[in-house]
Amino acid sequence: SQTIHQWPATLVQPVGSPLSLECTVEGTSNPNLYWYRQAAGRGLQLLFYSVGIGQISSEVPQNLSASRPQDRQFILSSKKLLLSDSGFYLCAWSRRNEQFFGPGTRLTVL
């Protein structure tokens, strides 16, 4: 069966510090992968998606970047965090018509 992992689960970082969030998927090959951000209690905003290694599409201009160094690994990064980067970050993979989410990382930027 397929499993999606994210770490860390919780992160508190100062403004201006770098960020690296990791997502890995097990049990499937060549998945479409997605990064979402969710502001407190609201809907999901698609940040990046990837259809293959090294292929990244950005949905909104922002302070973040994404990379896919391996088929089942998706990384969300920032060189310098802003206060507005705080939120709940979710990684997802898709199969046919459904998306399956990882457990999420709650990021607080102080």
């Binding site: 609201r42 809907g43 999901l44 905003q45 698609l46 259809v51 018509n97 459904e98 998306q99």
Partner: protein, 112 residues
């Protein structure tokens, strides 16, 4: 531009009440509509709807799709405090990358 609109944004009811959550959408090419429940962590999948008029049911939850209007509703009968969550509606248009468009969610709070 494709979009998904959910209403209400927030709802507070008493345990035992029945609630109806609404989701309307505009997409160029519709493939499916998805409902998710999100408690404190990641959203969990509830239903996928592709055809009009066919009700999907799981325990006290049910959902139906009307592709003509277009909209979907999610019903929860005999609500319990454990139903408190954000309910997300999402539409999967026919696109190569499986990008799904989410609504902003309905925050449901059930009072004991």
């Amino acid at each position: 531009e494709d979009k998904v609109v959910q209403s209400p944004l927030s709802l507070v009811v008493h345990e035992g009440d029945t609630v109806t959550l609404n989701c309307s959408y505009e997409v160029t090419n519709f493939r499916s509509l998805l409902w998710y429940k999100q408690e404190k962590k990641a959203p969990t999948f509830l239903f996928m709807l592709t055809s009009s008029g066919i009700e999907k049911k799981s325990g006290r939850l049910s959902s139906i799709l009307d592709k003509k209007e277009p909209f979907s509703i999610l019903n929860i009968t005999a609500t319990q405090t454990g139903d408190s969550a954000i309910y997300l509606c999402a539409v999967n248009p026919m696109n190569r990358d499986d990008k799904i468009i989410f609504g902003k969610g309905t925050r449901l709070h059930i009072l004991p």
